[in-house]
């Protein structure tokens, strides 16, 4: 069991290191690169020197970046201030929404994004695994070729373009709402009506994201199942007299899920990218839309916070996948 404990410790350690690097990277990105928001703001010729100084102090820009070797406290720097603020959950204040704490904005957006991503993700994984399994079993037959073509096509389809097509089709032919997560200004008599309204708003974005993710998961599952079907222990299972159904259920499925778990984790970046595009098309008030709007408004604190959250979320999800893997595969204790 010590091996398994070691696996756990090393994976958590690696996740922590990654988060630390992400945090530092996020700091450097916004302070050092040429487009530094505060600096460019201060170059505004209309500001007088006192105002610039006030701004510098407010942003803590009068301090050294990482290490202050001349001062009384070498650690009294911009970086430590940033870390301390992060520790308090303080991500700064939005430029665009005056005096709105970035943390609040992002928190609300995150909830909306999860409403969109979780159902799509679950649906795509379930459908994709089932289709991939079936395609691998019927390798070279019609169902296999159809699913392969479908995956290749959705892979080549830009998410935002699929979103636009479904939006036009859904709005024109089925009268579905095309923007936001709820009808603005509507009065709902009951909870059922509210749920119905939200559901109608969710339908198109979820469908878009599911279709985009589905092909990818199907391909992964298919190749993973094909690998397992070629293993000698499947031949042993056949020689033992197991039926095809039993072989798939008891010998192929769990083994095939192993690479699947890892690849799902590695593909989370892909999910994030899909979510950003879908939110942009459907004006879904989530993290993606927030990010895109922040770019338009040059709202750097929001951009910085949203990026940090997205990156950390993917790292955490990756860690979860690794832990699931460790739980599924008895061999990880080997290291």
């Amino acid at each position: 069991m010590s091996g398994r404990g070691g696996y756990l410790v090393s994976k958590i350690a690696w996740a922590l290191v990654t988060v630390a690097v992400v945090v530092t990277f996020n700091f450097v990105l916004f302070r050092v690169l040429p487009g530094d928001p505060a600096k460019s703001g201060m170059r505004d010729p209309r500001l007088n020197p006192e105002a610039v100084e006030t701004l510098r102090q407010r942003f803590g820009l009068d301090k050294e970046l990482f290490l202050d070797l001349d001062g009384d406290n070498p650690l009294d720097t911009q970086f430590t201030a940033y870390l301390a603020a992060l520790g308090r959950g303080d991500l700064g204040t939005s430029y665009a929404f005056r005096d709105q704490p970035v943390a609040d904005l992002i928190g609300n957006a995150l909830v909306n994004t999860l409403w969109l991503v979780l159902p799509s993700q679950v649906l795509a994984i379930l459908l994709g695994s089932a289709l991939g399994l079936f395609a691998a079993w019927r390798r070279g037959r019609a169902i296999d070729l159809a699913s392969l073509s479908f995956s290749l096509f959705t892979w080549s389809l830009p998410t935002f373009f699929l979103g636009i097509i479904l939006l036009v089709a859904g709005a024109n032919w089925y009268g579905l709402p095309t923007a936001g997560r709820i009808t603005i200004g509507a009065e709902f008599e009951s909870f059922a009506e509210l749920a119905w309204d939200i559901g109608r708003h969710l339908l198109l974005p979820t469908l878009t994201l599911t279709l985009i993710l589905l092909g990818e998961y199907m391909l992964i599952m298919r190749s993973s199942v094909l690998d397992v079907f070629g293993e000698d222990y499947i031949l042993t299972a056949r020689a033992k007299g197991l039926s095809t159904y039993r072989i798939i259920r008891h010998h192929a499925l769990r083994n095939a899920m192993l690479p699947m778990v890892t690849l799902i984790a590695l593909n989370l970046g892909f999910t994030v990218s899909g979510a950003i595009q879908v939110e942009a098309v459907y004006s879904w008030p989530g993290l993606g839309a927030l990010t895109v709007n922040a770019v338009g408004d040059r709202d750097y604190p929001v951009l910085q916070g949203a990026f940090l959250l997205l990156a950390v979320a993917v790292v955490v999800a990756n860690l979860l996948a690794e832990l699931v893997y460790g739980w599924l595969d008895p061999r990880v204790s080997e290291g």
């Binding site: 389809l157 830009p158 636009i164 042993t236 056949r238 033992k240 970046g269 990156a311 008895p330 061999r331």
Partner: protein, 651 residues
């Protein structure tokens, strides 16, 4: 399992040419290349084919906006009154430029990182891979948005950002490929010669890795094109150039949906799909051609493995050997023939093999690689891989014709009457299930009345019998050593108390002391349980020490069959004689060994007459044209014309 792989392997062709042929076999790859080619031609010839120059400023009135398709504007006009078709054609330039430039950059970074990490290894390698892992978990679109927003959206920035974030998959691929090549024996040999790193990299590593790298680059191009259009759609495109993503951004953001202007939305979207689909098809086909996946698939639909062409003849001859008399065979194989699908038509791997196994007898099936011994037993067991099928003969087991069993009957026959110990038990046990679990599964499958505790107890007893001990029953196979896994496999084979166990090279790849342990175990089991054993092996020593009878196979046929003592004392077939002379014998260490000149025949180039004739020192004219039948000899039989009474007088 090597036998069947060899049987399906195409004839000797240069690897790179083989890959090329495989690629041409992929029609989708050619389609992809054509799609990409058309896009490239249009991009290069944009000024010639576009009806208007979209960069030329035009004066527009409200009436020019979102004009539907017409003769003047085949794809209508956009929100700025510009000709959509012309923008579309010029947009190809931006998409392809970004795609190729970013992919080239990604390839360069990823290639260098991958080769260094793979070849150097050590702490530099792990550091590089840690960095790669880091970039792999960062959501790239989010980072691209942040970077482009901070640096400013110019075409150069976009290329650099996409390229600088797109190398991670290439690096991982190149690293794993480099690691594989680095461990190839020819690279070790070059190092042993005294070759330096530069020589090894230049002559051996890079040539081996490069083709796969280029195939991967094609896929990276498609990713880069998608990234560029996404950024442009999100308003982060270079405002000074026209790209497909930007066309969609403007159209979508400026009322094309409400204006019903499908012509402003669909063409740029499908242009992206066209190029990305083309590159993806091409890249997938290239990767598949260079790195073909093994075609093994152990779950083909049942029933397809037997295709005996003339059932009437089969019925006429089919008469089960009587099993009542003492010493009657429990397993009788008659004229078994097996074919494999191959590109140039089916190849016959086993051609008319017959033998009998009596109860409690140990039969050795011996021969060199490719002689068809493994294929024979897989055919008997109805476990041939896809593409292989029994095309003739009968297999009688205790009065039942195995080749006629349907799926259900076959399943209940398996393991209860006849079980199997594979070559290389490393992979024959499922790694994610405990050993006990895999044994009780067989017990409970064939005896639904067996309770869980009872079958668990039985599994423990079996593991005790094979020398593992029930203490370790609940462990996973990977905690066992190679020898223990083979013991566990034997315990599994005993689970349903079968009449016959087939052991296919059960000791190959095991150390000689472990081999002795396993053979002792098998011998003890045959004695204690009165079980028949078919031992498939290439090792004459193992046969001599364990078998009662021996079947010597060569080139898919039986060369000789006899009692073990007589095969070794008075071999009748020239092949057996020569094989014995080339086999080392510790009892006579001073006897010089003599090899057999030439090599065993290939399936696609089987000699017309006797299969051994080209290597036989006694061959005469008849051997080259006629296939020798079995002649009785020394109490057994051998298939050689020298034993034909008509040929008396020959050596």
């Amino acid at each position: 399992m090597t036998a069947m792989l060899e049987a399906t392997a195409p004839p000797a062709v240069e690897p790179s040419r083989r890959a090329w042929r495989r690629f041409l076999g992929h029609r989708i790859g050619l389609v992809g290349a054509a799609m990409l080619g058309i896009a490239l031609v249009i991009a290069v010839a944009a000024p010639l084919v576009a009806p208007y120059d979209p960069y030329e400023p035009v004066r527009v009135t409200i009436l020019d906006i979102y004009q539907p398709p017409s003769a003047a504007h085949p794809l209508g006009t956009d929100d700025g009154g510009n000709d959509v078709l012309s923008s579309l054609i010029y947009g190809a330039r931006v998409s392809l430029l970004v795609g190729f430039a970013a992919a080239a950059m990604a390839l360069l970074i990823g290639g260098v990182v991958g080769i260094v990490a793979g070849y150097r290894g050590g702490w530099i390698g792990s550091l590089l891979m840690r960095i790669t892992d880091f970039f792999l978990v960062i959501p790239d679109l989010a980072l691209q948005i942040v970077l482009v927003a901070i640096i400013g959206p110019s075409l150069g920035t976009i290329i650099v950002v996409i390229g600088a974030l797109g190398w991670t998959t290439t690096a991982r691929l190149v690293r794993s490929q480099t690691l594989t090549v680095r461990e190839r024996k020819y690279v070790l040999r070059a190092k042993a010669i005294g070759a330096g790193d530069v020589h090894v990299l230049r002559r051996h590593i890079v040539p081996a890795v490069l083709p796969l790298m280029l195939a991967n680059m094609v896929l990276v191009i498609s990713l880069a094109i998608l990234s560029e259009s996404t950024l442009a759609f999100l308003g982060l495109g270079d405002p000074t150039v026209i790209s497909w993503g930007q066309m969609l951004n403007f159209a979508f953001g400026r009322g094309a949906v409400s204006a019903g202007a499908w012509w402003a939305l669909l063409p740029p979207g499908f242009a992206i799909v066209w190029v990305v689909l083309g590159t993806t098809l091409l890249g997938t086909a290239l990767e598949d051609a260079l790195n073909p996946r093994p075609k093994r698939h152990h779950l083909e639909a049942p029933g397809s493995d037997v295709a005996i062409p003339v059932p009437a003849a089969h019925v006429a001859v089919a008469r089960p050997p009587t099993t009542t008399e003492a010493g009657a065979p429990i397993l009788s194989v008659r004229d078994l023939a097996i074919e494999f699908d191959a590109p140039g038509g089916p190849l016959r791997a086993v051609d008319g093999v017959s033998f009998d196994l009596r109860r409690g007898e140990t039969l050795g099936l011996v021969g060199e690689s490719g002689c068809g011994k493994t294929t024979t037993v897989l055919g008997v067991l109805r476990l041939l891989p896809p593409g292989g099928r029994v095309v003739g003969g009968q297999v009688w087991f205790d009065g039942e014709d195995l080749l006629a069993l349907d799926g259900r009957a076959l399943r209940s026959f398996r393991w209860t009457r006849l079980s199997l110990v594979f070559q290389g038990a490393m992979n024959a046990l499922n790694p994610v299930r405990t050993v006990e679990d895999q044994i009780t599964e067989a017990i409970r499958l064939h005896d639904p009345g067996a309770s869980r505790p009872a079958s668990s107890r039985r599994a423990g007893e079996l593991l005790e019998r094979v020398g593992i001990g029930k203490r370790r029953a609940r462990e996973y196979p990977h905690t066992y050593s190679g020898g223990m896994r083979q013991r566990a496999m034997i315990a599994l084979a005993l689970a349903c108390d079968p009449d016959v166990i087939v052991a296919d090279e059960p000791t190959t790849a095991l150390d000689v002391m472990i081999q002795a342990q396993i053979l002792e175990l098998l011998g003890g089991i045959a004695r204690d349980f009165g079980m028949g054993i078919i031992l498939v092996t290439h090792d004459l020593g193992v046969v001599a020490q364990t078998c009662d009878r021996v079947v010597v196979m060569y080139g898919g046929v039986v060369a000789e069959e006899n009692a073990a003592t007589r095969v070794f004392a008075e071999p009748q077939h020239p092949y057996t004689q020569q094989l014995l002379r080339s086999f080392p014998d510790l009892a006579h260490p001073d006897r010089p060994l003599r090899g057999i000149p030439g090599s065993p025949p290939r399936l696609d180039a089987m000699p017309a007459g006797c299969r051994f004739a080209p290597r036989c020192p006694h061959a005469f004219e008849r051997c080259a044209v006629e296939r020798p039948p079995d002649y009785p000899a020394a109490g057994g039989r051998a298939s050689c014309f020298l034993l034909d009474p008509a040929e008396e007088g020959r050596p």
